[in-house]
């Protein structure tokens, strides 16, 4: 029983990592219908920005938390800029091309970031500084850390904030309009280019926040850390219903729990396959994800 509860904690902790990355995925997808494969790499860049920034900043401000906040803010800003540049240079010129073209460019951007990072940062893993010192919390035989709790609650908080932003602000409304119909939104006087750039900036900033929080929890970063996490987060987003913000978090948690339970009670050698098996099983019954709206094709 105790070990089951511990596995539950492990699962939710892993799931909140996927959820955090899936949020950005789902946002860009929701607005542009683009699977931004480079999202996982932005997550990695966020972690690296955090790594270099914290070497500059750590210890220069009065408290640990302030350190962490400054590093996080600057790195989110940096990634938002990368996101805007990426959208402007790589995606905007082909916005009206076929979906496949966009996808190939996304793959290209992802490869470009990965290979450049291997040259610039070096391929070996680096130790991410403990911006927030670890405190262990013991409950009976169960062990969890403050860092795990922070990741989970940040994911939940961002989910709520993002939802508020999209449904309660003017810009959010504009975003929904762009997502609904780009041309109609343009005709309504919405600066669609700006909205899309903003979406990328926001999505990338989310990825950076994810990269830093996860790296505080799991302090080994390397240039390819975003590949598998990105892929799993994407699976989580699809699982929950891509384009749906609650779905992303739900999908992330389900995926995290499933992986942990399979490793813990089944066979850990099949762990990577399980994510996809669950995905296939769920999509067979609910083709647009758990919370996704089924689209009826009009004739």
């Amino acid at each position: 029983m105790e070990s089951f509860l511990q596995q539950l904690i492990n699962g939710i902790s892993l799931g909140s990592i996927y959820a955090l990355v899936a949020l950005g995925y789902t946002m860009v997808y929701g607005v542009l219908r683009l699977i931004n494969f480079a999202h996982g790499d932005i997550y990695m860049l966020g972690a690296y920005f955090g790594y270099y920034l914290s070497r500059l900043i750590q210890g220069r401000t009065p408290s640990h938390l302030l350190d962490a906040a400054v590093v996080m803010f600057l790195s989110m800003l940096g990634c938002a800029l990368v996101g805007i540049v990426m959208e402007r240079l790589a995606y905007r010129p082909v916005r009206r091309a076929s979906r496949l073209t966009l996808l190939i460019i996304a793959i290209g951007v992802s490869l470009l970031i990965e290979y450049s990072s291997q040259v610039i940062f070096g391929a070996d893993p680096k130790f991410f500084p403990q911006l927030i010192p670890e405190t262990q919390i013991h409950m009976g035989g169960l062990i969890l850390t403050n860092q795990q709790i922070i990741v989970l609650f940040t994911a939940l908080a961002l989910m709520v904030l993002l939802n508020l932003f999209i449904y309660r602000t003017r810009t959010g409304k504009a975003m929904r309009a762009v997502s609904f119909n780009l041309d109609a939104a343009k005709l309504m006087g919405i600066n669609t280019d700006q909205i899309i750039a903003l979406t990328f900036a926001l999505g990338s900033a989310l990825a950076a926040a994810g990269g830093i929080l996860v790296s505080i929890n799991i302090p080994g970063i390397d240039p390819l850390m975003g590949v598998m996490t990105g892929l799993k987060a994407f699976v989580a987003a699809v699982l929950g219903g891509i384009g749906n913000i609650f779905g992303a978090v739900l999908g992330g948690l389900i995926l995290g729990l499933a992986e942990v339970m399979v490793s813990g009670y089944g066979s850990s050698t099949y762990r990577d396959a399980i994510a996809f098996l669950i995905l296939i099983a769920i999509l067979l019954f609910k083709p647009s994800g758990i919370l996704g709206k089924g689209q009826v094709e009009k004739v």
Binding site: R99, T101, I104, G108, L112, F234, L283, P287, E297
Partner: protein
């Protein structure tokens, strides 16, 4: 009768080319010969992969990014046939000369690869009936990953240590025979009533259904045909490299095949062929840049897609009647 003549002619031409290639490139005066030969073989295998994926992706419009999965199934099944069954088959065909025995082993391995991949294609084709677009894409990607993880866990095919001891049975002749067979088959399928049904499904599924096309059957068929050729390519790949490891079959390989199709021009057979050759040669051409090679490669990829989003050939056809592209 005419067709028989064609086939004999093609076989003879390929045999001649094989003889020529090995005489000039492998044993001949050109010092880079074996290197070029190696690239030609890999290009051939990539052509089969790209053309077969093009049937599913480009022509039927079923977005699949799990092609490396079929490739892997074919490679491992075929390797198992010749590794475990090889001695038995040779004993049964002892009356043939060594070349004949090799041919029998390879043909059986090819058949097994094709069959296993067809089953896998059927398995993946079925979800495609309910899913479309990105959802289908992620399911096919997942399928490819599941295959890879399963192979890692099978000790009989080496698992993580790789499959060692596969006989070298494939060569230029076999690879380009498969290339020819694949291109001719896809070419004929596209120009048959099936092909028109595939294209109709791509353009508008509901309209196609309204026109009386059995969408279910055609979708699964596109998957199965694509998978069979990918599986056979896997067979020849394994019997050329003599060693298999799951690192050759990750989702990155699936991406590579998609990129070949997209760079060539989605839906164009010649485009897929060109794309495959281009993307096999391109990274080799960049070898001079050493550490920056893959950065330049990915930049080139992005630039080509930005400036030529429809691919090198678009949907155009180099030969024959130009197939009509999208109306609008």
């Amino acid at each position: 009768m005419k067709r028989l003549l064609w086939i004999t002619g093609a076989l003879a031409a390929l045999a001649l080319l094989q003889w020529g290639c090995s005489a000039i490139l492998l044993d001949g005066p050109i010092r880079q010969g074996p290197y070029y030969y190696q690239i030609m073989i890999l290009a051939g295998i990539n052509i089969v992969l790209a053309v077969s994926l093009n049937l599913t992706n480009g022509i039927t419009g079923q977005f699949s990014i799990g092609h490396a999965g079929f490739f892997a199934v074919g490679a491992y099944v075929a390797a198992s046939v010749s590794y475990y069954g090889g001695p038995g088959i040779r004993a049964a065909t002892a009356f043939l000369p060594a070349v004949g025995q090799d041919t029998v082993v390879l043909l059986l391995a090819l058949a097994a690869a094709g069959l296993a991949a067809a089953l896998a294609g059927l398995l993946v084709g079925i979800p495609s009936l309910r899913l479309r677009g990105d959802y289908l894409a992620i399911v096919t990607l997942g399928f490819g990953e599941i295959i890879r993880v399963v192979i890692l866990n099978v000790d009989a095919v080496g698992g993580a240590r790789g499959f060692v001891g596969i006989p070298k049975l494939s060569n230029f002749f076999w690879v380009y025979l498969l290339v020819t067979a694949c291109v001719v088959t896809v070419w004929n399928v596209v120009r048959s009533s099936y092909g028109r049904a595939f294209i109709a499904i791509r353009e508008n599924e509901i309209a196609a259904q309204a026109m009386g096309i059995d969408v279910t059957r055609h979708k699964v068929m596109a998957f199965v045909i694509g998978a069979v050729f990918a599986g056979m390519a896997g067979c020849l790949f394994g019997h050329y490299t003599m060693y298999l490891h799951t690192n050759s079959f990750t989702f990155v390989k699936s991406f590579e095949i998609i990129i070949m199709v997209a760079i060539g021009g989605l839906g164009s057979i010649e485009g897929a062929v060109l794309g495959a050759i281009f993307l096999t040669v391109l990274p080799e051409a960049f070898r001079g840049f050493e550490g920056y090679r893959m950065i330049i490669y990915s930049l080139a990829l992005i630039l080509i897609m930005i400036f030529r989003p429809q691919g090198m050939l678009g949907q155009a056809s180099l030969f024959g009647k130009k197939s009509k592209g999208k109306r609008k």
